[in-house]
């Protein structure tokens, strides 16, 4: 007798599929990607009465007709891995629509177990579900669960085993609903469900609470202020919780570095360990708290139901630029850090739109660029510093929109999605799910982008330290030599001094290092820049430099993440070249215009 079973977990979005998976998995959830796809894959092993069930999570979809990449994943899994059974999570509040997919599955000759979820919520709202009758009528086993509390889990697993061991039984009503051998006719299926299910399923009220909240969230007057408030709170939450952790980590790494400096090794080796290795690991670790808390915040917004309202609220604006409101989330996160922002591109299901969102994200000014703006703006434009910084942020957003538009026009119509989305009822997010999402994303970042970032930081260190004995990043180091060679590129922009070229090269490693590099190269430290910088460049050049810093090549961590998210070096290269070209053109224009206006 078979003791090992393969079960696929499927369900419409917002039916508690992830909660069920998390509660089934306990601590042992394996997270990765579907082979050759950018779609996330999660799976776990569950033991029940000597049987071993491998549960594979399939993307949350409304249909298994293979139209989107996610639906294709589900379809291929069913066709190729031939699971013993499919568990479908069902929100009993929208039973008929959920059952449409059940019929699609049954039509493919698949054994299905239905996990009815949100029963408590439904009872409160006056929805009555006659489970026994439905089971008899649909000829499919049904188990009532509460995914958030783990209730009904054992019963569900028992049913999975029992169904796996049974032969497939084709429900007697199915033949008359078929359009062809494998597919049902939607028109007949929904007609059939509506006529027959209603006896076993009574519905009274609609979501009163959700309706009230939506009068605020989607209100003509309060909708946008409310969104701003939510975004503000999201960043506040992230920064308040992550800054002390980042400070502790930085402290720990600098202590470690000072210990290493005491080792009886040659200076080159010490520098390699201290600046190269420890510095490199440090530059990976500082992202961890940021990613962890930002994704907790996003998961909270998503599970609460607000995220889809934010998408609907802003869709009209994005539509003008050839994308949808779904691009909002990566864009907003970009103001914090482009790394989690690029990762959040996963919330966009449309391949083309996701690519656009990732492509333009670096134009959104992340928090690492702010210290550069503040420093330079205060030195050159003390009276107008706020205006300068503000116009930098606005320019970033405008360029992101502009490039979105161009990209979407150039790449053709693609799959016009029509932006059909569901607004789920507002629900209290499940604490464990939210935490888990933070952890999963941090883990994925460390696993996928961590090594790349570390390697790249080591490479930068090497360039700055060779030939042996040279001053780190100084004029005669390889990096310095490269800087001198390329500084002519920046001459027309008003900052042709080689030190700026070197600082920009370091800035590719991490933007916040631009200021400290300039300070070191001019031999004055950061505090001495107030006097040193104006001696080297005109105000127009300084302003152009800021616009260049805003727009040019994404940092290494972002590029590593983009590589991992898109799977394509060509994409990364195209992005680097485009951002560089855009930065050059804008900085040139700024230098010219500012030269005329402020001299």
């Amino acid at each position: 007798m078979k003791t090992k079973f393969l079960a696929g977990l499927i369900g419409n979005p917002n039916t508690g599929k992830t909660s069920l998976l998390n509660s089934l998995a306990g601590m042992y959830l394996h997270v990765g990607n579907w082979p050759g796809k950018t779609v996330e894959k999660k799976e776990t092993q569950v033991k029940v009465d000597g049987h071993e069930i491998r549960v594979v999570d399939l993307p949350g979809t409304y249909s298994i007709a293979p139209y989107s990449e996610e639906e294709k994943v589900a379809r291929d899994f069913i066709d190729q891995e031939k699971p013993d059974v499919i568990i479908q999570t069902v929100d009993v509040n929208t039973l008929e629509r959920n059952l449409l997919m059940t019929l699609e599955l049954l039509a493919m000759n698949i054994k299905v177990v239905l996990a009815f979820n949100f029963n408590k919520e439904a009872r409160k709202r006056g929805v009555k579900v006659k489970k026994k009758e439905l089971e008899e009528f649909l000829q499919v086993p049904i188990v009532e669960i509460e995914a958030n509390t783990g209730q009904g889990q054992k019963e569900l697993l028992d049913q999975v085993v029992a169904t796996s061991e049974r032969e497939y039984h084709r429900p007697s009503f199915l033949p008359e609903l078929m359009k062809n051998e494998q597919e049902i006719s939607h028109v007949q299926a929904i007609d059939f469900l509506r006529k027959n299910i209603s006896n076993n399923f009574f519905q009274r009220t609609t979501h009163g609470f959700s309706k009230k909240l939506d009068t605020v969230a989607l209100s003509r007057i309060w909708g946008f202020p409310f969104l701003l408030l939510v975004v503000y709170l999201m960043f506040k939450f992230t920064f308040v919780l992550s800054s002390p952790l980042i400070a502790v980590a930085e402290q720990a790494f600098s202590t470690l570095a000072s210990w290493v400096a005491l080792l009886p090794f040659p200076p080159f080796l010490i520098s390699m360990l201290k600046d190269g290795l420890i510095g490199g690991i440090g530059s990976v670790v500082v992202f961890v708290p940021l990613i962890f808390f930002l994704f907790i915040a996003i998961a909270f917004l998503e599970d609460s139901g607000y995220l889809s309202r934010a998408v609907v609220l802003t869709d009209r604006i994005f539509q003008r630029f050839g994308v949808t409101g779904r691009s909002l989330i990566p864009m907003i996160l970009g103001f914090g850090c482009n790394v989690p922002a690029v990762m959040a591109g996963r919330t966009i299901r449309q391949k083309k739109e996701r690519k656009i969102a990732i492509f333009v994200n670096p134009f959104i000014s992340c928090s690492a660029r702010l210290p550069v703006y503040l420093m330079v703006a205060h030195i050159f434009f003390p009276a107008r510093a706020t205006l300068v910084v503000f116009s930098l942020y606005v320019t970033g957003v405008l360029i992101a929109f502009l490039i979105s538009f161009v990209y979407s026009k150039l790449s053709g119509a693609g799959e016009e999605s029509g932006m059909i989305i569901e607004l789920p009822p507002y629900r209290r997010p499940n604490f464990k799910n939210v935490l888990r999402s933070g952890w999963n994303n941090t883990y994925l970042f460390l696993k996928k982008a961590g090594t790349l970032i570390l390697l790249a930081s080591l490479a930068v260190w090497l360039l700055a330290s060779l030939p042996i004995g040279v001053e780190y990043g100084g004029a005669s180091s390889w990096l310095g030599i490269i800087g001198k060679q390329i500084s002519f590129i920046f001459d027309p922009l008003g900052f042709g001094h080689w030190a700026f070229a070197v600082a920009l090269l370091f800035g590719v490693a991490a933007k916040e290092t631009i200021i400290s590099t300039l300070g070191a190269l001019f031999g004055v430290g950061e505090s001495g820049l107030a006097l040193a910088l104006p001696a080297k460049i005109a105000p127009a050049g300084a302003l152009a430099f800021l616009f260049f810093v805003l727009l040019y090549i994404p940092c290494l961590a972002t590029m590593a993440t983009v590589k991992k998210e898109t799977g394509s070096w060509k994409f990364v290269l195209g992005q680097a070249l485009t951002t560089f070209a855009v930065a050059w053109v804008v900085a040139y224009a700024v230098n010219q215009a500012a030269g005329v206006i402020i001299g």
Partner: protein, 76 residues
Amino acid sequence: MSKTLYDLAPRQKGVIKKVKACPHIKERLHSFGLIRGVEVSPEGKAPLGSPRIYNCLNSKISIRNNIAKQIQIYED
């Protein structure tokens, strides 16, 4: 010209007569329950006028105006 989802006034109800979108979008609309014979009613719209929100099979579905204009209805 037949009436479309877009023409439905608040608190009115309509039954879907025909989904005239391209096959890809039609399939997506179908999977959300927007199928011939199903009753729908408007639930409001985004502050900037599009997309609009409809109640369909007891869930709220948001659809851009240009797509809503492609869904023909019978008025109740």
